[in-house]
């Protein structure tokens, strides 16, 4: 018996005897043999604690953080500055449990955080109702799909290829269970192809999913895209990036029904990819179909301002299998980080931050477009991210780009996200993110290193590869 297993052999024998089973294997009889593992798990033998820690330290030392290299990675998660104030407040022990605050009399702090957070999301998105978070961006988009599926019995979703690949994958996975077909609308010149969207719309379309800005960093023309969706009677869903909403018009202004998004950029660090949170805001008409928890403002018996969970009849502890979602624990600590951050940034600060990103990104775009062998993948308006092609046109860009990224890494620069991982059509594409943490000097260095890497990678290619 190992030190981590509390049951002794005698305990097990007693338990088996009590339930009338001969062996532990008998408990798995109902699982078909074909899917049972017929050998022990392939695990290494036990090792002393010191050795295990040494091994883990060695593994951890292979991580490269954004402090160690000059990183232009984004693609959904962004390296924004998070002030010490955020850690100071979210570290208070009162906030450390995300447990559902069913008892408002002992949970006013948590409930007020949820309420203030909802208010901020509502103001940023221009939509009247926000919930108190979902798990992350992709599942929030999936939840919007579930709302549409429950709202009207239509059979098709349309989703722009500009929506984050993870969110598209999540929606496809969830839709399979509902029997809804998911069709992708292609991009043209970096933005959703409005003609292809118009052709695909019909009275069987339940919802259309867009992203603002889209995965290639391009600002979509929601003013033109949304009306045909509404005319077809479909629900317009837009994934959006809260950090750009200081400079972009809010989705609610364009008649978007549901805005969802990834919350990480708002006051949360990269943290190895999570946890983060997803936000979800909608028009008033969908109030009773919104998933997850909602905190409301009220008054107590003495007329004092207070906060409670509201509209709980949508939730699983009351509505059971017909709940609007199966989520009760939310990402409250992450949302707290977001609302502390937004309060720190302030109404003017988020505008100034947006303007700073616009300026830096425009500067970076010009600098990289001037690099020999690099061209812009699209020329649409962008906020903090844009896409380039590396040695496009010459063919073989896909092979080249791995080499380019490696050469940059060798100089301590991560030039961006390789689009070929998700888009066959952009296999020589690179997605470059410019947060306020990247200075002009950093951008100059990126241009210089990228130029050297492209030149080096081209020279290294053998002649037969160039002509292939």
């Amino acid at each position: 018996m190992s030190r981590y297993t509390s049951a002794t052999d005698a305990d097990r024998a007693a338990m088996l005897e009590r339930i009338g089973v001969q062996s532990i294997d008998d408990l798995f009889e109902t699982i078909p043999e074909g899917v049972r593992l017929d050998r022990p798990l392939d695990l290494p033998p036990g090792r002393p604690e010191q050795e295990v820690f040494a091994h883990l330290r060695e593994l951890a030392s292979r991580n490269v953080s954004t402090d160690d290299e000059l990183s232009f990675l984004g693609a959904g998660m962004y390296d924004h500055y998070v002030p010490a104030l955020v850690d100071s407040i979210i570290s208070r022990s009162e906030f450390l449990t995300p447990y559902t605050p069913y008892q408002p009399e002992v949970s006013q702090g948590t409930l007020q955080v949820m309420f203030e957070y909802q208010t901020a999301i509502s103001e940023l998105t221009g939509l009247p109702v926000s919930n108190a978070t979902l798990y992350e961006g992709p599942s929030a988009l999936g939840a919007a799909g579930f709302l549409a599926y429950q709202h009207h019995k239509r059979t098709r979703f349309l989703i722009s290829r500009g929506v984050h690949p993870h969110a598209r994958e999540t929606l496809r996975t969830m839709s399979a269970g509902w029997g809804i077909e998911v069709r992708e609308i292609p991009l043209r010149d970096g933005v959703t192809d409005a003609d292809a969207l118009a052709d695909a719309l019909g009275d069987d379309v339940s919802a259309v999913f867009l992203s603002q800005p889209n995965f290639l960093g391009a600002v979509e023309d929601l003013e033109a895209l949304v009306p045909p969706i509404k005319e077809a009677g479909a629900i317009a869903v837009s994934a959006c990036d809260a950090m750009t909403l200081g400079v972009l018009r809010p989705p609610g202004d364009f008649g978007v029904d549901i805005a969802v998004g990834e919350g990480q950029p708002v006051g949360n660090r990269l943290d190895y990819g999570g946890p983060s949170f997803g936000f979800f805001a909608a028009q008033q008409a969908f109030l009773r179909r919104i998933p997850g928890r909602i905190a409301g403002e009220t008054t107590d018996v003495d007329g004092r301002r207070g906060f409670v969970l509201t509209l709980q009849t949508r939730e699983q502890h009351i509505r059971r299998e017909r709940a609007t979602s199966n989520i009760t624990t939310a990402q409250t600590l992450n949302a707290l980080a977001a609302i502390v951050y937004l309060s720190w940034l302030g109404r003017q600060g988020i505008v100034e931050l947006g303007e700073l990103m616009l300026q830096r990104t425009a500067y970076a775009r010009r600098a990289l477009a001037a690099v020999e062998g690099v061209e812009l993948l699209h020329e649409q308006a962008v906020v903090r991210e844009f896409a380039i092609r590396v040695d496009g046109g010459g063919g073989g860009g896909r092979d080249l780009i791995h080499d380019v990224i490696e050469r940059c890494a060798a100089e301590g620069v991560n030039p961006g996200y390789r689009l070929g991982a998700d888009y066959d059509e952009y296999d020589d594409g690179l997605l470059v993110a410019i947060t306020e943490q990247r200075t002009r000097a950093d951008i100059d260095r990126l241009a210089e290193v990228l130029g050297r890497a492209v030149t080096g990678a081209r020279r290294f290619r053998r002649p037969e590869e160039v002509t292939a």
Binding site: R288, T313, R314, I318, R319
Partner: protein, 128 residues
């Protein structure tokens, strides 16, 4: 809230619905007992005009501060009118379950089903 009552001119279904028959149409609602069990009604999810009801099957949802419950069709038919007033005043279901608190009006597709419903005294007998 109104006092307990089960008007004699209505027909009743075991799932605590009432029907006021008028030729080939019927007005439907939930009984005093049903609204009393639900507690304060906060929302009635209005079904669509033109949608069809099948006797004994749920056709709408009614939400109180305590729960969301199915409303079961006492008769089969097609919805010709919904009580729009409930959108702003769902409490009418509590205050006046047989009047302003009506839910939908339907055109009967199987008028003979009326014979399967209970009269007021029979229904009231099932409640004790």
């Amino acid at each position: 809230m109104a006092d307990a009552s089960y008007p004699d001119d209505l027909k009743y279904h075991a799932e605590h619905d009432w029907a006021r028959i008028d030729g080939d149409t019927a007005t439907l609602g939930i009984t005093w007992y049903a609204q009393d069990q639900l507690g304060e009604v906060v929302y009635f999810d209005l079904p669509q005009i033109g949608s069809t009801l099948t006797k004994d099957q749920p056709y709408a949802e009614i939400e109180s501060v305590k729960a969301v419950s199915d409303v079961v069709a006492p008769l089969s038919g097609e919805i010709v009118e919904v009580n729009e007033g409930l959108a702003d005043s769902p409490e009418n279901v509590n205050e006046d379950p047989y009047g302003d608190g009506w839910l939908v009006r339907i055109r009967l597709s199987e008028p003979s089903e009326v014979d399967e419903l209970m009269d007021a005294s029979t229904y009231e007998g099932t409640l004790s």
